[in-house]
């Protein structure tokens, strides 16, 4: 099996490179001051806690009988997951162009290192806050943990594919960054973070499911709350979306990687 061996060696090199980039990224972003790398998940935790508090205090209308804390935690954590990855990958190549002199470092490694960091931060934040709220009794343990993980992974896949797509595209046009900023804010209220599909008028429900993130959040919530909620989602549609964006992302990445010009 000489081919398997070659793939194994390549995978080992790529793993090493991504690890090195990840550590470099963590040090560059968080440094060694105060709590250092803990910021990776403390930052999203502060965000989520803030939003949860505001929603709880204002008694935001979310159209279900769920406790507001549980609703905000699942909703806002999901937003952080799919929204932060593209934000970190847009214009990620340019400041790292000179790394291309190291033959084993490729554009995809820079993206993957950043994706791991963002997804890891959002996930640890979600887990830590969940455990904390469960511990103090504001939240019941998830009804179906595997379904939560499944929904979370789908959202992560969606965010990662979108991130690489936009990240690669942003090397070609600065419009990407300009457009993504408002777009990510405007899609926030549409993303399912702040509503359950079941609470929408029946005529609007099928339209809401055209937004990929909505499907992911619904799955996470069904996993979390079981029969307390009536979740609506279209799993095949979500999968096709993720596959489609992944394909577009790889096409763009290949094209951009071919035209990279370091200083």
């Amino acid at each position: 099996m000489p081919q398997l061996g070659a793939i194994g060696r390549s995978a080992a090199i790529q793993g090493r490179v991504i690890h090195a980039l990840l550590m470099r990224e963590i040090l560059t972003r968080y440094g060694r001051h105060n709590i250092g790398f803990l910021w990776i998940f403390v930052e999203p935790m502060i965000f989520t806690t803030g939003v949860t508090t505001i929603w709880a205090l204002t008694g935001a209308a979310h159209g279900s009988t769920l406790p507001i804390v549980a609703f905000a935690l699942t909703g806002y954590s999901s937003v952080l997951l799919w929204r932060n990855m593209p934000a970190r990958c847009i214009h990620a190549i340019e400041p790292n162009l000179s790394l291309m002199y190291h033959r084993n470092v490729r554009a995809v490694d820079i993206f993957l290192a950043r994706l791991l960091l963002e997804a890891g931060g959002a996930t640890i934040s979600f887990m830590t806050l969940s455990l904390f709220y469960i511990y103090i009794g504001w939240l019941e343990p998830p009804n179906d943990l595997l379904e939560v993980i499944g929904g979370w992974l789908l959202l992560g896949w969606f965010g990662a594919a979108l991130a690489i797509f936009l990240g690669a595209l942003s090397e070609k046009s600065e419009l990407v960054e300009k457009v993504w900023h408002p777009a990510s804010y405007l899609t926030f209220p549409l993303s399912g973070a702040a509503f359950m599909v079941d609470a929408l008028p029946t005529r609007v429900q099928p339209l809401a499911l055209y937004i990929p993130m909505v499907n992911g959040v619904e799955i996470v919530r069904e996993g979390y709350f079981g029969h307390l909620v009536k979740a609506h989602y279209d799993l095949p549609y979500m999968l096709i979306c993720c596959l489609g964006i992944s394909f577009a992302a790889l096409v763009q990445l290949r094209d951009v990687a071919r035209h990279i010009t370091p200083e």
């Binding site: 090493r16 490179v17 690890h19 090195a20 550590m23 470099r24 040090l27 560059t28 440094g31 000179s98 790394l99 291309m100 002199y101 190291h102 033959r103 084993n104 470092v105 071919r258 035209h259 990279i260 010009t261 370091p262 200083e263």
Partner: protein, 226 residues
Amino acid sequence: MIRFEHVNKVYPTRFGDRVVLDDISFTLERGEKLGVMGRNGAGKSTLIRLVSGAENPTSGLIEQNMSVSWPLAFGGAFQTALTGQDNVRFISRIYKQDFHKNLAFVEEFSELGTYLGEPVRSYSSGMRARLAFAISMIIEFDCYLIDEISAVGDVRFHEKCEIELFERRVDRAMLIVSHDLYYVKAHCQRFAVLHRGHMKFFDDFDAAHQVHLDAMHVEDYQFPDS
């Protein structure tokens, strides 16, 4: 061996495509030292980038079965917010090398002392050059790319570089680009002049030197047989 076969490199500009390298073919054998001359903008650094693999040719084939360094003393890959030590650690990780051994070597060679624990941002250009060169020496390559190394550092630094590169690594291939023609003459056996995208090869320094001077001073100069 590194082999260029009909390599072209074209950069798009606002005034249309600019051909920087036009149908370049050559071979660099193991242990061979090639010096490349050419005026500013002749494409020397582009050539280095193509050999290093940081960039792809527009067309043509680049084949190699030697490990090739990044351009020596190239400091651009430093993360300036990080310390010298962190940068050594990063390179050690990428190339799967022993960090502590490398750090000891860099400390000894660069003479940066406690500055290694400070952010690279705070270094002077000479200190950066010393760090960059020391880091370049911790990974063993079959072929070294040298782009204007004689332009940085003081005499003592140059002496140390001479020993590391041309005494300890006399068996390696090198591609040297420099405006310092005596440096090129002293270290290479083969020479090339880059002019208007074309590359002409010489075994004799004086012949190469003459063509280089003509290319620089004669208006609309073209290589005799091209």
